[in-house]
């Protein structure tokens, strides 16, 4: 099921897709005066959920408190943007015939181990994104194109660490 070597041919040319993505980012600068993002939407949701369950705990976290300020976490711009990302990704895959219930993994790893690794990797990214104040979208792409020094520092650190860790993860893919 995971062995479809010709499948990647159906994807768009990476340079063309990249130019398209760059134009989307440019449109965000022009229309909104800000770029794209992803981790901020997770943060807004985490702040909003904490506030709903335990308002005192949410207010006690300076990290969450920022998202609780007006207009509030549920009207956060990035939350709506990330909802759009899910819709856009879904529509694109639907029209390309690429919607598929599956767990992507190499031949030597169980479905469950791959899911555990994906969850663990996601949690680690969450910690990193909080500390760095952004992720690949909001910090690397958005700030990278605006020549923010911290964005390029983040790009270097993230890819450097990824290349160090990847050899340990080989079993997940091949």
């Amino acid at each position: 099921m995971n062995d479809r070597p010709t499948r990647s041919r159906a994807y768009a040319d990476p340079y063309l897709a990249g130019v398209g993505l760059g134009l989307v980012l440019l449109a965000a600068y022009v229309v909104m005066g800000r770029g794209l993002g992803a981790s901020g939407a997770f943060a807004a949701t985490a702040a909003g959920a904490t506030n709903a369950v335990a308002p005192a705990r949410a207010a006690a976290s300076p990290f969450f408190a920022r998202y609780l300020a007006a207009p509030g976490p549920w009207r956060d711009w990035l939350l709506f943007e990330l909802a759009g990302v899910a819709i856009g990704g879904f529509l694109s895959a639907l029209l390309a015939g690429r919607l598929r219930r599956e767990v992507e993994r190499g031949p030597r790893i169980s479905r469950r181990s791959r899911l555990v690794l994906a969850f663990a990797g996601g949690s680690i990214m969450g910690l990193g994104a909080v500390l760095a104040r952004g992720c690949t979208s909001g910090l690397a792409l958005t700030g990278g194109a605006l020549l923010a020094a911290g964005s390029w520092l983040f790009i270097g650190a993230a890819f450097g660490a990824a290349y160090l860790v990847a050899p340990l993860m080989k079993r997940a893919w091949r």
Binding site: G88, L117, F119, G121, G126, L127, A145, A157, A161, M169
Partner: protein, 209 residues
């Protein structure tokens, strides 16, 4: 025209969804909703991540520069992420490690999940959990989080070069990077041109029955 437009709250949220749809669409079209494809970047078997990311940065960088120069876009009113040296160095490294383990980043995990992939949903849920737990346990991190602040520091300021020069330099570096990426992928497609030849030549010299 004077951009950015800064829409009303309501219009801004509609724009957010529209821009998000275009963002998710291009990620999916490029194949970046696939963890296998993303992981290929870290094993140098598929450099799509690099190509998409850097052609996007190049396009937006050149677009912002020229729209600014033509007076269409007021760059001083576009939000530039601030720089905090230590948190972004360590946070970036932690993030990169998680990226290599999950095979997806936050935005692409959203696309992977939306297109039916269970590993995408797991990475997406993990990301949320990680931010939730870090947010709840934030107090001891606060000092580090606020340390080594450099404000909105930019590469032209760091390098003491004009904006246009840095844009030109990065354009050159990206183009060289694309050529390098194509070269690496060509080598991967024909994996053992020399080794294979040697391996097949040696037995051929043996007398065959």
């Amino acid at each position: 025209m004077s951009a950015p437009l800064f829409l009303s709250d309501h219009a801004a949220l509609i724009a957010a969804v529209v821009i998000g749809i275009a963002f998710g669409w291009t990620l999916e079209r490029a194949g970046l909703g696939s963890a296998k494809k993303l992981a290929g970047q870290f094993y140098l078997t598929d450099l799509t991540v690099f190509k998409v990311m850097f052609s996007a940065i190049l396009t937006a960088m050149l677009g912002a520069f020229w729209l600014g120069r033509l007076g269409v876009l007021d760059l001083s009113r576009v939000y530039v992420p601030g720089t905090w040296l230590a948190p972004q160095l360590l946070g970036g490294a932690i993030f990169g490690a998680g990226f290599a383990i999950a095979g997806l980043c936050p935005g692409t995990s959203c696309v992977a999940a939306a297109t039916g992939r269970g590993d995408g949903l797991a990475a997406f849920t993990g990301m949320f959990t990680g931010i939730l737990v870090t947010g709840l346990a934030f107090a001891p991190l606060q000092r580090f989080y606020d340390s080594t602040s450099r404000g909105t520091l930019t590469l032209p300021e760091v390098l003491h070069l004009p904006y246009g020069t840095v844009v030109a330099l990065l354009t050159g570096i990206a183009l060289a990077g694309f050529a390098g990426a194509e070269w690496i992928e060509r080598r991967q497609r024909a994996p053992e041109p020399e080794h294979a030849r040697v391996a097949t030549l040696v037995p051929e010299q043996e007398p065959q029955a």
